[in-house]
């Protein structure tokens, strides 16, 4: 068995306790039962056996994952551990939650199952994240209270932020201060928005001016480089890119994998399998099949015409403009769902191509400058 890994985004429910206007998932009342989980895990482990894969990263998401009780996750954890041990596999669990349903009853399972860490989401300013029939301020108040409570219990909270028009208006300096100094976050990532799922007016407005968005990213990277980087603050994707360009081991995000179809699938509580959470929840024509109705994940993936399209995507892209790109080795054409939600096809470059290239070039220069400073320090001390 090799050291290769496989990632599974497992949506334990498609229910949600928030009403974020830009959400790319189509919500339902479906919840995964422990019996269904046992079937899914058995088939995933068989797939890992067949592929000679040793490690599974299991990303628990929703809907809102905390709508199932902590006791459900404790039982799920026990079952998965037993099954994985029987197959000689290592499993690591990660939890992504809006934290609105968090209370102290979660502490034990977060500690034992999720390494005492939770990933959440927060935007600044918050224009789109709302509680059901309430406004953004109510969401922010509840979220901040829950996060404070979790941190007081010793839980590490990381976050994903999606820039919006307001973010560009306030600028990178204010954004950085809010996240690092006011919220005290030491590890967060900034993901470019995309209009996935059912169209609505808010999603149409997610198409930010590319030049302003790029400027925001580069300024944020500079601020982080000057103030946070040496102090241990990690901002994705800057930290990973700086590691990469500094020739350190780097875990780049899935949008820049050689082919995400090789390393990742998402499964929803109905058993549907697709490329990732947005695809499985919102684009039924691109599902690969249903694992609760199929005896084998390998057979399901092999037989899926939709998956074949994902596998073919980088091949098609590299026959076009991507081939000449200096950063082909880093990006491989970018994210399929970002492309599809904007362009309506898989077979084009990521619409954030220009942003990515500017960012790669910027962080590459940052790495060179840091290396130069290290050399200079060494010379000065000689």
């Amino acid at each position: 068995v090799s050291g290769r890994g496989f990632s599974l985004v497992l949506l334990s429910t498609l229910q949600c306790n928030a009403a974020c206007e830009y959400c790319f998932e189509t919500k339902t009342d479906d919840r995964l039962t422990l019996d269904q989980l046992a079937v899914i895990i058995a088939r995933v482990l068989e797939y890992l056996d067949e592929q000679g894969i040793a490690r599974l990263a299991l990303y628990w998401q929703g809907g809102e994952a905390m709508l199932l009780p902590p006791s459900w996750y404790e039982q799920a954890h026990e079952h998965i551990q037993r099954a994985a041990d029987a197959h000689g596999k290592q499993v690591r669990h990660y939890l992504q939650s809006n934290m609105l349903g968090y209370d102290e009853r979660w502490d034990a399972v977060i500690r034992t199952m999720f390494g005492n860490s939770v990933g959440t989401s927060v935007d600044y300013p918050n224009l789109h994240r709302k509680l059901i029939r309430r406004d953004t301020a109510a969401y922010d108040d509840l979220w901040a209270r829950k996060v404070r409570q979790a941190r007081a219990a010793g839980i590490e909270v990381t976050a994903i932020a999606v820039p919006n028009q307001g973010t560009l208006d306030i600028g990178a300096e204010r954004f950085y201060r809010y996240f690092v100094e006011e919220l005290g976050l030491r590890d967060f990532q900034v993901n470019p928005p995309f209009p996935g799922g059912e169209p609505n007016a808010v999603k149409q407005g997610l198409n930010l001016d590319p030049e302003r968005l790029t400027r925001f990213y580069l300024e944020l990277a500079d601020i982080w480089g000057e103030r946070g980087c040496a102090d241990g603050v990690r901002i994705g994707p800057f930290s990973e890119l700086l590691d990469h360009f500094s020739h350190r081991p780097a875990c780049l995000p899935c949008i820049w994998h050689e082919n995400c179809a090789d390393t990742l699938v998402a499964i929803d509580p109905r058993g549907f399998v697709a490329q990732c959470d947005c695809w499985v929840a919102s684009y039924s024509a691109y599902r690969f099949g249903n694992l609760l109705e199929s005896a084998s994940l390998a057979a399901l993936l092999r037989a899926s015409p939709a998956r074949r399209q994902f596998a073919e995507r980088p091949i098609a892209l590299v026959e076009g403009e991507c081939l000449r790109c200096d950063y082909l080795s880093l990006c491989h054409g970018g994210c399929p769902v970002r492309t599809f939600s904007v362009r309506g096809t898989l077979f084009e470059r990521d619409p954030n191509c220009s942003l990515y290239r500017s960012l790669f070039r910027h962080i590459e220069r940052m790495a060179v400058n840091l290396a130069g400073k290290t050399v200079q320090t060494e010379l000065n001390s000689a």
Binding site: S2, R4, N259, I315, V375
Partner: protein, 288 residues
């Protein structure tokens, strides 16, 4: 900088390496061998029945595989060489093989024909090493070779060796000559190619040479007598690293183009040496 070659050079001191078809494994299992097939299924089937893989140097697929799963599942991490036949057409298909890098070192051998640079770019982007099967490149191919050399030397995202550039650059940088016969794995003192029917022949460009009387001593003899390789060789500044390699099979090959590539490599090695010397001088230490 010092990535090892896929084939361990020290092996030549001890024994020949045979490039054999999978079907002939039983006959060659007690000597060092490169095992080749067109199809991963055939390769893995033979390997599964073979208890002794002590002498396996690496695996070689003579054409791009349609299904790589058998090689993903076969556990021993033996290096794998993928052979492209038509690089300008096949380059994008390397993406189908991307996962192989997760389980074993992969090198792509790319014939230098128009459009080969696309395959070199994609292979490197997929973390695969590259070996250029350079032949005797005509003037029409020199600009593309120069472009790939520039890509190898100056593109910061290149983190894989592109041979022969890589080993020759290292040799020039360290001032420790290594000849192209060795780098290109065509030294007849080291390798034999075994045809599917069992016929043994000399490797690579020497395959059809009738005038090599002492294959084991060829490279050493040329080193002592450069003029034996070609008229130009005796006065060539790059003979130490070339060893007359480009004068086979056509002895009248015009080396002007490849000499330009050697010069670029020499300049690049000198530039890095000068940078390091300046650093050491600034630090008050000795130059390398």
């Amino acid at each position: 900088l010092d990535q090892p070659l896929l084939i361990v050079p020290d092996k030549r001191i001890v024994t020949l390496i045979y490039n054999i078809p999978a079907a002939l494994l039983p006959r060659y299992r007690d000597v060092d061998f490169i095992l080749r097939a067109h199809d991963p299924v055939a390769l893995v089937a033979v390997l599964a029945d073979e208890p002794n893989l002590e002498h396996l140097v690496h695996l070689r697929l003579s054409s791009l595989p349609v299904d790589i799963e058998p090689l993903l599942r076969w556990p021993p991490p033996a290096p794998l060489e993928l052979i492209l036949a038509a690089p300008a057409l096949e380059f994008a298909q390397l993406y189908r093989c991307a996962r192989l890098v997760d389980v074993r070192p992969v090198r792509v051998t790319i014939p230098v024909a128009a459009g080969f640079g696309k395959a070199a770019r994609v292979a490197v982007a997929l973390r695969m090493a590259v070996k250029l099967d350079i032949g005797q490149p005509g003037p029409d191919l020199i600009p593309e070779l120069a472009e790939v050399l520039d890509f190898y030397l100056h593109q910061p995202t290149v983190a894989q060796p592109i041979e022969y550039f890589h080993s020759i650059w290292l040799s020039l940088f360290h001032r420790q000559p290594v000849d192209l016969w060795t780098v290109q794995e065509e030294d007849p003192a080291v390798l034999r190619y075994v045809e599917d029917d069992g016929t043994e022949r000399l490797p690579g460009r020497l395959a059809n040479s009738n005038d090599v009387v002492n294959p084991e001593g060829l490279v050493a003899e040329l080193r002592c007598n450069p003029a034996a390789a070609g008229v130009e060789c005796a006065a060539c500044a790059f003979f130490a690293d070339c060893g007359g390699y480009f004068k086979w099979p056509r002895r009248d090959f015009d080396c002007a183009g490849v000499i330009g590539l050697f010069q670029t490599l020499t300049d690049a090695a000198a530039e890095v040496r000068a940078d390091l010397a300046r650093f050491d001088a600034d630090r008050g230490g000795a130059t390398p």
